[in-house]
C-alpha cells in the first residue's frame, strides 16, 4: 500500500469575489521514506494543497472533490473528530513562517510535549524526556526547552518547529517553505537534518518551496504547480534532464547555474493568471512561447511521458503530439 495517494483533489475558497479554485484536480502519491518537492510561483496553491492534506483549511476553504488516501484511508471525507486524532500523529506540518508559529507565552519545550501527551497518552515525565531527545535531534540543547520562543534565533525557532513536527513520529511531514527566511548556511543545515531524519524513520516528506535548486538535492520527486494544477510531475532527473513542460523549462532557466556561463537569469515574463477568472484552455498559454491555437481552447490533461513522468501540455517534450 502507498503511504499517501492524492486523487484529483479540488480545494476551493469561497471569496467575496466568487469561487477561487486554489487546487484544481491535483493527483500524486508518496511512498514511505520518499520526499516530494512542490514548486511554483506564489499563489499557485502549494500551501492550500498542504493544508488540504492536513485538513487545516480556513473556514472559507473547502475540499470539493477528490480523495486523500493515507494508508488507504480517505482523509477528505473523514469527520473532524476523527481527523483530530490523525493530526500530528500521522500528518504534521512545518508551517510557512515558523517565526509566528510558536506561542509566544508558552515555553518551547511545553509546546512540544503537549502534543506528545495528547497523542502518546504517556506521562508528563515521559513526554518531557522525549521532548529533550527530539530537541537534541535538531541540535538544540535539551535545556533550551525551558526558553520562550523570543529567546530563540530565527534558525532555532525553525528547528524547534521541526522538532515539534517530528515529536509524535508522524508518517508524513509537510514542510511549507521551512527554510525560506533563513540564510543559506542554516538552510542547508536544516534540509540535511530533515533528510537524515526522513531516511532514518521512513517518513514521507513533502517539501514546498519557491526554490527549485534545493529540491534537486533533497527530494526524490518533484511536482511543478501552476494555477492550482500540477503541470509536471516526475523524478528529479525527469524534471531537470528531461524537462517536458514549457513552464518547468522557464522555472529552471530562472535559477542561475553557478558552474555555467555568466548570465542574468531570465525570469518568466508575464504574471500568473487571475485565479478567480481562469480562461478556458491552458492557464499558461498567455506566457507560453510554445503555444498553438488549440492551447487557448482545449485544456491539456496530464499524460504519461515516462515511467513516473507526467506533464500537462499539448506539446510536452518527449511525449507525442496533441491527443
Amino acid at each position: 500500500m502507498k503511504l499517501l495517494e492524492v486523487e484529483n483533489l479540488n480545494t476551493y475558497f469561497n471569496t467575496s469575489k466568487g469561487q477561487l479554485k486554489a487546487v484544481n484536480g491535483v493527483s500524486f502519491d508518496l511512498e514511505y521514506g520518499e520526499a516530494l518537492g512542490m514548486v511554483g510561483e506564489s499563489g499557485c496553491g502549494k500551501t492550500t494543497c498542504a493544508l488540504s492534506i492536513a485538513k487545516l483549511l480556513p473556514k472559507e476553504g473547502e475540499i470539493t472533490g477528490g480523495r486523500i488516501l493515507l494508508e488507504g484511508v480517505d482523509l477528505a471525507s473523514m469527520p473532524e473528530s476523527e481527523i483530530r486524532k490523525k493530526r500530528w500523529k500521522d500528518v504534521s506540518v512545518i508551517f510557512q513562517g515558523a517565526m509566528n508559529a510558536l506561542n509566544p507565552v508558552m515555553k518551547v519545550g511545553d509546546q512540544i510535549s503537549e502534543a506528545i501527551v495528547l497523542h502518546e497518552k504517556g506521562s508528563k515525565e515521559a513526554a518531557k524526556r522525549r521532548t529533550g531527545e527530539i530537541l537534541e535531534l535538531v541540535e538544540i540543547p535539551a535545556a533550551r526547552g525551558s526558553n520562550y520562543p523570543h529567546e530563540f534565533s530565527g534558525g532555532m525557532k525553525q528547528r524547534a518547529m521541526i522538532a515539534m513536527a517530528l515529536a509524535c513520529n508522524p508518517k508524513i511531514v509537510i514542510g511549507d517553505e521551512p527554510t525560506t527566511a533563513l540564510d543559506v548556511m542554516v538552510q542547508a543545515q536544516i534540509l540535511n537534518l530533515l533528510e537524515k531524519i526522513r531516511k532514518e524513520f521512513k517518513m514521507g516528506f513533502i517539501l514546498i518551496t519557491h526554490d527549485l535548486s534545493i529540491l534537486g538535492e533533497t527530494c526524490d520527486k518533484i511536482a511543478v504547480m501552476y494555477a492550482g494544477k500540477i503541470v509536471e510531475l516526475g523524478t528529479v532527473e525527469d524534471i531537470f534532464e528531461r524537462t517536458a513542460h514549457p513552464y518547468t523549462q522557464r522555472l529552471i532557466a530562472c535559477f542561475p547555474n553557478i558552474r555555467g556561463e555568466k548570465r542574468i537569469p531570465e525570469g518568466i515574463s508575464g504574471s500568473p493568471p487571475n485565479m478567480l477568472a481562469l480562461a478556458p484552455g491552458c492557464s499558461f498559454a498567455p506566457r507560453c512561447d510554445r503555444k498553438q491555437a488549440c492551447c487557448e481552447t482545449l485544456e491539456p490533461v496530464g499524460k504519461q511521458i515516462g515511467e513516473k513522468h507526467f506533464a500537462a501540455c499539448h506539446f510536452a517534450l518527449g511525449g507525442g503530439a496533441i491527443e
Partner: protein
C-alpha cells in the same frame, strides 16, 4: 535582571507621583480665588482675622516655603482642613472612601467578568448574529450617557417596579434589629448604582476582549495548535486566552486605579455618599483643600495601578521580563 527592573519601575513610579504632587499643588495655586477670597466675602471678617487666616494657611510665606510645608504636611498625612466640613481633609475623605470602593469595586468585578465572557463568546462566534448582537450591546452601553442610564434605571426599578430604593446608602431613620438586617438594607441600596456602573463599564471590556481575542485567534500559533490535534476548547484555554489576556490586564489595572475616584455621575444620581459625590460637593463649595485631597488620592492610585499593571505584565508576558 528582574529585581533591577522592579527597582527601576518603582523609581519611575515615585518620580511620577512626585511630579503629580507638584502639579496638583500648582494647579490649586493657579485656580482663581485663593482660600482667603472666600473669607473676605464674609462681611464680618475683620482685617485681623484675614491676616490670621493668611498666617494659618501659610500664605504669607514665599512660594518655596509653601511648597516645602505642603510636602512636609503631606508626609505627615496632613492634607489640610476642609473649609466646608470644618474637619481635616483626611478624615472627610476617610469617611467617604469605603462606599465608593464597595460600589465601584463591585461594579468593576461584575463588568470585568461579564465583559470578558461576552467578548469571548463574540470572538468565538465571530461574524454570526451573536457577535453582531454583543457588538451592538457593547457599543450602545459604552456610549450611553451615564446619568441618563442611571435615571432610566431608577425609573424602571424604583419608581415603576418598586424593587429597590432610589437613592442613599441606608434607609433614613431606620433602626435595625440585627446587623443582618442592616447589611440587607445596604445591599438593597447598593444594587442599582452598581448595576448602572457595571453596564457602563461592560462595553469597554467586552469590545477589548473581542478584538484582542479575534486577533489572537487568527495568529499562526493557533493554527499550529489546531494542527497538533487539539480541540477548540483546549486551544482557547491554553493558547488563545493567555495571549488575549495581556492587553486586558493593562485595561483592568488602569480602570481599577480609577475605582478610588468613584464616579461623579452615578454617585450623584443615586446620592451615593462616596468620593465621586464628595468631589462634586467640594467643587460646588470651592473647598480647595478637600478637592486637592481627592485629586491627590485619585492620581496616586492611578500611578500605583499602572505600576502594578507593569509588574503583573512582566510576570505573564515572558517577552517583557528583561
Amino acid at each position: 535582571m528582574k529585581k533591577r527592573s522592579l527597582i527601576q519601575k518603582s523609581i519611575y513610579a515615585v518620580i511620577t507621583i512626585f511630579a503629580v504632587l507638584v502639579f496638583n499643588y500648582l494647579l490649586f495655586r493657579v485656580l482663581p480665588g485663593d482660600p482667603l477670597s472666600m473669607m473676605m466675602r464674609n462681611p464680618k471678617a475683620t482685617p485681623e482675622m484675614i491676616e490670621g487666616m493668611r498666617q494659618l494657611f501659610g500664605l504669607d510665606q514665599p512660594w518655596y516655603v509653601q511648597l516645602y510645608l505642603y510636602f512636609k504636611n503631606l508626609l505627615a498625612g496632613d492634607l489640610g482642613m476642609s473649609f466646608y466640613f470644618k474637619q481635616p481633609v483626611s478624615s472627610v475623605i476617610g469617611a467617604r472612601i469605603m462606599p465608593t470602593i464597595i460600589m465601584v469595586g463591585l461594579a468593576e468585578v461584575v463588568a470585568i467578568f461579564a465583559g470578558i465572557i461576552i467578548g469571548l463568546i463574540a470572538a468565538w462566534k465571530r461574524g454570526t448574529r451573536i457577535d453582531v448582537a454583543t457588538l451592538g450591546f457593547s457599543l450602545v452601553t459604552y456610549s450611553m450617557p451615564t446619568f441618563w442610564l442611571g435615571m432610566v434605571i431608577v425609573v424602571v426599578f424604583s419608581v415603576n417596579l418598586h424593587l429597590f430604593p432610589t437613592s442613599g446608602i441606608l434607609t433614613p431613620g431606620m433602626t435595625y434589629q440585627t446587623t443582618g438586617a442592616m447589611v440587607a438594607d445596604y445591599i438593597r441600596h447598593l444594587i442599582l448604582p452598581t448595576l448602572t456602573m457595571s453596564i457602563v463599564l461592560i462595553g469597554e471590556y467586552a469590545l477589548t476582549m473581542r478584538n484582542t481575542l479575534t486577533d489572537v485567534l487568527s495568529e499562526d500559533y493557533i493554527t499550529t495548535a489546531k494542527a497538533k490535534g487539539f480541540d477548540n476548547k483546549y486551544i482557547l484555554r491554553k493558547h488563545a486566552l493567555p495571549n488575549a489576556m495581556l492587553p486586558m490586564v493593562t485595561l483592568i489595572a488602569i480602570n481599577l486605579g480609577l475605582v478610588v475616584g468613584g464616579t461623579v455621575q452615578v454617585e450623584t444620581v443615586f446620592s451615593w455618599p462616596g468620593l465621586g459625590s464628595l468631589m462634586y460637593e467640594a467643587l460646588r463649595a470651592r473647598d480647595y483643600p478637600l478637592l486637592q485631597g481627592v485629586f491627590l488620592l485619585v492620581t496616586v492610585s492611578v500611578v500605583v495601578a499602572n505600576f502594578i499593571a507593569d509588574i503583573t505584565y512582566s510576570y505573564i508576558d515572558p517577552r517583557v521580563k528583561e
